[in-house]
């Protein structure tokens, strides 16, 4: 009984995981450079930024929403934090300001959607432009750079030989998994996406929880901004362009339905890793960057086809 239950709930994730493993084996056969400790850590590190954004995006998409503003919010949070950091704000406070800026933008998205009744696509499309513009105005278009070594440890530091961004990513996913499966916020996230009417009727404060979900997504974009800034030793107002699409792709490959109501964060993590492994592997193989785009796009399409077929079979 128990295995059957597990298979039903997590079967989809096993499918995605199986895809990731198959992909890795193929790359292992094709190039000697793939299956090395240094390269695998390299991939994990490269995946961390999009994966962290995608964790927040998973919550949003489970509520049947979408957040197009994450890339711009990342850029804005990055330049705000970087400017304050260079202005002499203590490291801890500066980091908080980065996450806080993202959280603020996310909460505004949430209020526009839940109180202002705007469709998520429109509200976050607006924020995408507003936050990008704000980042450009804030910096006059120039990158902000030149940080202390202690700040750069966020990108170059290691914990037990594991790069710090990977550690942060894993921590985010453990917490996100806990929140989504064990807390009220998590249960209501599914409830809002599954059947909003029913959620309202059973007394869920849909407005509040929906706003919180967008806030969470914005806050995680702010966290990703900190890592990106440390990694490049620079906060660029034009950073993160098209990151929303990478994040959405990771969520969708990970089996979260755009219709809402179902999905898991670990699926998203595997989805993000599949994209990271593909990009890495194609570069290791020396595949032209034009062909890479075709391969990545095809994988997204096939993954969703697979997802739909899985769901039909189950019914």
């Amino acid at each position: 009984m128990k295995t059957r239950y597990l298979l039903q709930v997590y079967g989809r994730q096993f499918g995605t995981l199986f895809g990731l493993i198959a992909l890795s084996i193929v790359l292992w056969i094709l190039t000697p450079h793939f299956m090395t400790v240094s390269n695998l850590l390299n991939v994990a590190q490269q995946t961390a930024i999009v994966a962290i954004i995608a964790a927040g995006m998973t919550f949003v998409i489970i509520t049947a929403g979408i957040d197009l503003s994450v890339g711009s919010v990342l850029a804005f949070s990055g330049v705000v934090m970087a400017t304050l950091l260079l202005g002499g704000l203590p490291l801890g406070l500066a980091l908080l300001s980065g996450v806080g800026t993202g959280l603020f933008c996310g909460l505004i998205n949430g209020l526009l959607i839940s109180v202002g009744r705007l469709p998520p696509f429109i509200a976050t499309l607006g924020m995408m432009s507003v936050a990008r513009g704000a980042a450009l105005v804030f910096t006059e278009g120039r990158p902000v750079s030149g940080f202390s070594d202690s700040f750069r440890q966020i990108a170059v530091g290691e914990v037990l030989r594991i790069p710090a961004p990977v550690v942060i990513m894993l921590a985010v996913y453990l917490i996100a998994h806990f929140v989504l499966t064990r807390t009220k916020l998590g249960r209501y996230t599914y409830a809002i996406g599954g059947n909003e009417e029913a959620a309202i009727l059973s007394g869920v404060n849909v407005r509040l929880y929906r706003t919180l979900v967008y806030g969470l997504c914005g806050g995680l974009s702010g966290l990703a901004a900190i890592i990106l800034t440390a990694r490049l030793n620079s906060a660029q107002p034009i950073a993160g362009i098209m990151y929303e699409l990478d994040a959405i792709a990771a969520v969708v490959i990970g089996g979260t339905s755009l219709i809402g109501g179902e999905g898991t964060v670990f699926g998203t993590l595997i989805g993000a890793l599949i994209m990271g492994v593909l990009r890495n592997g194609l570069t290791l193989l020396g595949v032209s960057s034009f062909v890479q785009q075709i391969v990545i796009g095809s994988v997204i399409i096939v993954a969703v086809l697979f997802d739909m077929a899985w769901k039909t079979n189950r019914k």
Binding site: Q236, T283, G286
Partner: protein, 317 residues
């Protein structure tokens, strides 16, 4: 369905795997050229130059680029991945003069020599990080900006209103061109820069930004665009406003479409810098470095003013 996924993935991997250059002879060193993007004829010419040189010299060449010119983070990922494949040397056109520094440091750590092409690295940032490059190959962008400025001063006879389309701020190439251009303008008080805005190196933005500039300043007599792509976008905006031939447009790069525009008269001039030569020189010098030979640390390829008299496309390339 699971099988379908597997087959697609396997299929595409095998397909792309076959695309690899046959690397049976491992004594050939591999030189990697990492471009800003391949959505720009300038970099495609550079790739061509590098390919021709690598064929002649018998080295293996890998060319990679991010999808978007502004995406430094993707460029860094590509460099990290190439480091994993243990390429012998890296030639990089940085998408960000400061942002590329951590990637250079990573290559330094494993002893892969780095040559910088086209866009300079920010030297203080490189020094602060303890990074090292083997050499720089690029055109004299400052001089190019001056040449463009002098052309406009002459064409306007020292008096008039001009507009500027800038590249992405923080890119050394655009910043230097701008600096050179402004230097000349400062020496000619009769000429006023009434608008200076970025079009982010993109053609469509060149169009829209200049369309807006024309709305605000219909009296503009000349435009300096820091790249031909932006200039060609602006040319369309000028034509839409029915002002073709009434505004002197000067671009930068002199790739073939811009040369055609100069021939037709929709652009007055452009500044030639040969990205083909940059690619070729980069590969040649990378090989010198690999052989332990000394190279010139700063190789400056000259610029040339292209007007109707000498605009014939360089078909040899």
């Amino acid at each position: 369905m699971k099988k379908l996924v597997l087959f697609t993935v396997l299929g595409s991997m095998l397909l792309t795997g076959c695309q690899r250059n046959n690397s049976s002879s491992t004594d050939q060193p591999t030189i990697a050229l990492v471009l800003k993007t391949l959505n720009n004829p300038f970099f495609i010419d550079m790739q061509k130059g590098a390919e021709d040189a690598s064929k002649k010299l018998g080295v293996k060449l890998l060319v990679q680029a991010a999808e978007r010119e502004v995406d430094v983070e993707k460029q860094m990922q590509i460099i990290e991945n190439l480091i994993q494949t243990k390429v012998a040397a890296l030639c990089i056109t940085p998408s960000g003069s400061k942002e590329i520094v951590p990637a250079i440091v990573k290559a330094n750590k494993v002893g892969i020599p780095v040559l910088i092409v086209d866009t300079r690295v920010n030297q203080p940032a490189l020094d602060a990080a303890g990074g090292k490059i083997s050499g720089f190959i690029g055109s004299d962008n400052l001089e190019g900006g001056r040449v463009a400025g002098q052309f406009i001063v002459k064409a306007l006879q020292g008096k008039g209103k001009v507009a500027v389309l800038e590249g992405i701020p923080g890119h050394e190439t655009g910043d230097s061109r701008l600096k050179g251009f402004r230097e000349i303008m400062a020496n000619n008080p009769g000429i006023e820069i009434v608008s200076s805005q970025t079009a982010n190196w993109e053609r469509d933005q060149g169009y829209t930004v200049f369309q807006n500039v024309l709305q605000a300043h219909p009296e503009i007599q000349a435009l300096f665009a820091c790249s031909d792509l932006m200039a060609l976008g602006a040319v369309e905006a000028i034509s839409a406003a029915g002002k073709t031939g009434k505004i002197i447009v000067v671009g930068f790069d002199a790739f073939s479409e811009a040369r055609d525009a100069v021939m037709k008269g929709t652009m007055a001039a452009t500044i030639a810098q040969s990205s083909y030569d940059m690619g070729r020189t980069a590969v040649e010098n990378a090989l010198h470095v690999l052989r332990g030979e000394k190279i010139q640390e700063d190789i400056s390829l000259g610029v040339q003013l292209i007007t109707k008299e000498n605009a014939k496309p360089v078909s040899a390339q």
